[in-house]
Symmetry: C2
């Protein structure tokens, strides 16, 4: 992988912090003390919405994890194993999946029938999250990734692991967005885009690409194929901040679409610790809005009746602190009042290219968006 | 979209067959006859495994769909609507998703409360399949696609919608494989690969890419991110046949992995009509095999006990005609005997790059593969 500066010390950032963690354990052991880490608490009780930064953030509460404690000794050992493996990945310049990591740290403790790890979801995954918060490093900075999903085309050239990717010449498929998009892997070169359009649905993204929307409107088209994975969110975050671009989000008109938008904008409750490097408070919701049915005369036979779950979820979302702005309250009330939701594809009932030729351009031009 | 030959008539292939279909309906109407199509039967009763071609194929049985029949009139109308929309897509050189198509053909019949279509899965999707078989055209040739998943890197240059994609310079993300990979969209240019490696899991594909396996072993690396979607299968089919390359398949060691392999190789029961243009009888199963636990001394604590469902599925697969070869019977018996399955990631317990440096090279070199 390309390094940003060839002279950068090998143990910068996360690697250095991993060293310090190890160092503190060794020193405690040498002094006959009880080795311990401070692990910030990740429960809902320690999460809040920061009105000023407009981010869902973690509070200050933390918990000690000590070695000489029957309830904690195993997790202490597991934390050390995961940390050691991350250190090894960093020094080898290799990356791996969180599934892979589980297998790498799983073994039988010699002379016993005891396994270091039994289960990924309840054991190694939470420890990765512990390390992310404790070390103030994203898992991607520890060279770990979850899933790889999402594609990009448009007015930008970037470098991925030393290869130059001209996103203007990526055909119908696009460049597949990797899970790890940190600056040591991805660098931005010539950007001629004036905005980023993040589209929930892959099939709709293809329509925008086929119609060369990105060329006409000088933008970067990104899809996360549903709830955008971390790589997509982090890449958008970097582009917005480093290239100073506005980001527009286009999702289905249902509570799930609203929620996807809010995660992109404010972050999520259970991953609040990553908001600062993932969330994009300047993001704008371009649609679909419940008011579009009237505005764009969308035929009623392509709308879908809200089910019970939709109604519950809409009401829940309406109560979140980050949805308290008046236009959002109005938006969600309108969905509940109309009793229907709508998919992006519903716009195709007017014309296959209605969404690229008329809907989005009009929305952006008139600033008809939600904050 | 780039055309193969600029002089190719606009109504070649699927477009011409759509015209003929429409023509026959119009002629019947003009002669006061009952308009009708012949739709091949897609049920299990009309599917068989062809020992000679080694493909799961459809039989000859077909059914008439007539207009003047109370049970068929609606489906007749729906078939015409979908066919007309496909014709429009072809003449506009546009492609769309099957979801989008549903919305495009859905409307209220003027003067009634009757909808042309109520539901995608039970109405418009089956009609797309009807048209695929009747017209002997893949849905992609009718400019329709389902999902877009999968990535590619390696020793090939290809052209996608006029853009040249050098898969040797696609970074860590790779080229995102589109759903439609027919020759009018994708053309192959300089291929320096000697084989194709199709990897079930995206995370494992990333390991192979990061270790630049494709450069060392002169190959093309493809992932389908689970059961490969149609675009991935069709692209592999084209590369195998047009570039004359062997295809190796690397999947988890579980009944699902065996099944993924068999779909790539022989096709599937419910999409038997597409076998001829999707299935790759020359494909080879490179692993994971149940015998690998001993061969590669894989620690027993990374294997997973088979559950009831696994056992049922393994026995079911064992009875399929296309799994009757002795080595396959031996393979599945070994899984049932050992009582365990294994993920590709389990090999990482030995070393993070064990799978790229030792496992796959040894398997291929020694021809230790299943047919």
């Amino acid at each position: 992988m390309a390094k940003r500066t060839p002279s950068a010390p090998k143990t910068s950032g996360p690697a250095r912090r991993l060293d310090e963690l190890a160092e503190s354990v060794v020193q405690a052991a040498e002094h006959g003390a009880n080795p311990a880490f401070d692990i910030p608490v990740r429960s809902l009780a320690n999460v809040s919405f920061n009105q000023k930064s407009q981010l869902i953030e973690m509070g200050e509460r933390s918990q000690q994890r000590t070695f000489f404690n029957l309830n904690m000794a195993k997790r202490f050992m597991q934390t050390c194993l995961v940390a050691a493996e991350c250190k090894k990945l960093l020094s080898q310049s290799k990356t791996t999946s969180i599934r892979d990591l589980f297998y790498m740290v799983k073994h039988t403790i010699p002379g016993t029938n005891e396994e270091t790890f039994e289960d990924q979801r309840t054991e190694s995954d939470p420890i990765i999250e512990d390390l992310e918060v404790s070390l103030d490093s994203l898992r991607e900075e520890l060279h770990l990734f979850a899933s790889n999903r999402g594609a990009l085309v448009g007015e930008i050239t970037l470098v991925d692991s030393g290869d130059t990717i001209n996103a203007r010449r990526m055909g119908s498929g696009g460049w597949s967005i990797p899970s790890i998009v940190e600056p040591d892997v991805i660098q931005f070169k010539k950007c001629t885009a004036r905005s980023i359009l993040l589209i929930e649905k892959d099939a709709v993204w293809r329509r925008f690409n086929e119609d060369k929307f990105w060329r006409r409107h000088k933008c970067i088209l990104v899809t996360g194929q549903g709830q955008p994975p971390r790589g997509v969110r982090r890449l958008c975050h970097r582009m917005v901040n480093e290239l100073n671009l506005p980001l527009y989000v286009l999702v289905d008109n249902d509570p799930w679409g609203y929620y996807i938008y809010s995660v992109v904008k404010q972050g999520s409750i259970n991953l609040a610790y990553e908001s600062r490097r993932m969330a994009i408070p300047s993001a704008r919701f371009v649609g679909l809005s419940s008011f579009d049915v009237d505005k764009f005369k969308i035929p009623s036979n392509v709308t879908i009746r809200l089910n019970k779950e939709d109604v519950t979820r809409a009401k829940q979302i309406m109560s979140y602190p980050w949805f308290q702005k008046k236009p959002w309250q109005r938006e969600i009330r309108q969905m509940l009042k109309s009793g229907v939701k709508m998919e992006l594809e519903a716009l195709s009932s007017k014309d296959i290219s209605f969404i690229t030729r008329r809907y989005v351009p009009k929305k952006i031009k008139e600033g008809d968006m939600l904050d």
